[in-house]
Symmetry: C2
Subunit: 218 residues, 2 copies
DNA sequence: GTATTATCTTAACAACGTACAGATCAGATA
DNA sequence: TATCTGATCTGTACGTTGTTAAGATAATAC
C-alpha cells in the first residue's frame, strides 16, 4: 500500500541506525525541553540521552560533559537574546529614548518567552562558561544594550563611557533584569490585582516602569 | 596536668557522643558554609552530615529531606533580610524618600554580605517552599519594603495600594534586586573602571543608581 | 527501675555523571 | 573494489548522591 523509502541517507528510519546522524542538535533540543519542563535543576544528561535515543555515554562525543551541553544551550540563548535586543533597538528608530525603551521591553519579553533559557543563561555555575563562542556572544548582547545607552547620552562610538554613563547603564540593566528575574521567580504573584498571567503583568507594568527611566543628563 | 571535665551534659567532648546534641543547628551552619564555599549548586546533604560528624541518614530526623534543610537556611536568611531592611528603614528617619533609599541600599548590602544566602533565597526550586514559617517570613520582609513605598506615596496603612503604587513598588524592587543579582552574577565585572571588588562597586555606583529612582507621583 | 520516645548508625537501593574498552559505520585512500 | 582510518555509539563499571528501612543507643517520662 504505502510506498516505502528505505535506506537513503537522510530518510527517517524506523530502527535508528547505529550512527544517529543528528545527535548534537537533538541533544540540545532535548536539553531545552527538559529545562523548560523541569526547570534548570531538573536537567540530567542521561535524560537528554534517553530522549535522543542513545546511551548515556554518547553525548561525550559531542560535548565535553553535561555542563558543555548546557553551554551550547546558553550560547544559542545569548544568540537569540542578542537578536531580540537588536530587533527592539531597530524598532526604536532614531529616537534614543525610544530605542532604549524598546530594548528594555525586548529584554523582559525575551525572558517571558524563554523562561528556562533565560534562567540558565544567568546561572553561570550551571554551564561551561568557557564554552567556545559563548563569551563573545554574551558580549555582543551586552554591546547592543550599551549602544542604546551611548546614543541616549549622546556619546559617539569612539568616546569612552563616562562614570555617569556606566551608572545609567547599570540602572537600566538592573531594572529590566530585576523585573525579569522577579517575575520569573514568581515574586510578583503575591501582589493582588495582577490576574491574567505574566504577559498581562508585563504589558501593564513595564511601560510605566520604563517611562520612569531617568532622562539623560549628559 | 590538665584538669578534666567529663560527662557534663553541655561540655565539649573529644569523642562525640552517640547523640549529637546540637545537630540541627550544626547542619544549618554546615549548609551555609557549603553554599558559601561551593555555591548553591555545590551543596550536598551528605557533605553537610560529614561536616557535622554524623551519618548521611542522621539529618532525616531533623529535616524531611535536603530541600528541607535548605528551607531552614532560607528561613533564617529571610529573617536576617527583613531585619536588615527594617534597620535601613529606621535609618531613613521620617523622610519617606530617605527611608526608601536606605532600604534599597540595605537590600543590596545584604546581598553583598550574604551572597550565598541571597542567591538561595531567590532560587525557589532549591529549597522546600512549604517549610514552616518560611512564607510568612518572606511576606514580612516584603511588607517592610511595601511600607516605605506606601509612605513615599502618602498612603495610609488602611488605604489600598493603587495600581500606580504597585508599579512604583515593582520598579523599586526591580532595580535593587536586579542590581544585586547582576552584581553577584559577576555581570558587571566586564565593565572597565570597576576594579576593587564588589564592595567598591556598590559604594561607588549604588548611590547614583538609587538617586535615579523615580520620585513618587502619587 | 522500666518503658517510651528521640536520636543516630548501618546497610541498601536507584539514579546520576563520567571513564574505558570495544563495536559499528562513513568516508578517504589505494 | 578492498582496506584503512577516524568518528560515532554501546556496554559496562565506578564512585557519589538522596533516601529508606531496620536496628542500636541514649535521654526522658513514668
Amino acid at each position: 500500500m504505502n510506498s516505502v523509502k528505505i535506506g537513503t541517507k537522510k530518510s527517517r528510519q524506523k530502527k535508528r541506525a547505529y550512527h544517529h546522524g543528528d545527535l548534537k542538535d537533538q541533544l540540545v533540543a532535548a536539553a531545552e525541553a527538559i529545562i523548560l519542563e523541569r526547570g534548570v535543576d531538573g536537567f540530567t544528561l542521561r535524560e537528554a540521552a534517553r530522549r535522543a535515543g542513545v546511551s548515556p555515554a554518547a553525548p561525550a562525543h559531542h560535548f565535553r560533559d553535561a555542563k558543555g551541553l548546557l553551554g551550547e544551550v546558553a550560547l544559542r540563548g545569548f544568540k537569540a537574546f542578542g537578536d531580540a535586543l537588536a530587533a527592539g533597538d531597530a524598532k526604536g528608530g532614531t529616537d534614543p529614548q525610544k530605542r532604549l525603551a524598546e530594548q528594555g521591553y525586548a529584554y523582559v519579553d525575551f525572558a517571558m518567552r524563554n523562561p528556562a533559557r533565560f534562567q540558565l543563561m544567568f546561572q553561570h555555575g550551571k554551564y561551561d562558561v568557557e564554552y567556545p563562542g559563548l563569551e563573545q556572544m554574551g558580549a555582543r548582547a551586552f554591546g547592543i544594550l550599551e549602544g542604546a545607552v551611548r546614543a541616549a547620552l549622546g556619546l559617539r562610538a569612539a568616546e569612552p563611557m563616562t562614570p555617569d554613563a556606566y551608572g545609567y547603564l547599570m540602572a537600566v540593566w538592573s531594572i529590566v533584569h530585576g523585573f525579569s528575574h522577579l517575575t520569573l521567580g514568581g515574586e510578583f504573584d503575591k501582589l493582588p490585582g495582577l490576574q491574567g498571567g505574566r504577559d498581562a503583568i508585563v504589558k501593564t507594568f513595564l511601560p510605566p516602569t520604563l517611562r520612569r527611566l531617568p532622562a539623560p543628563g549628559r
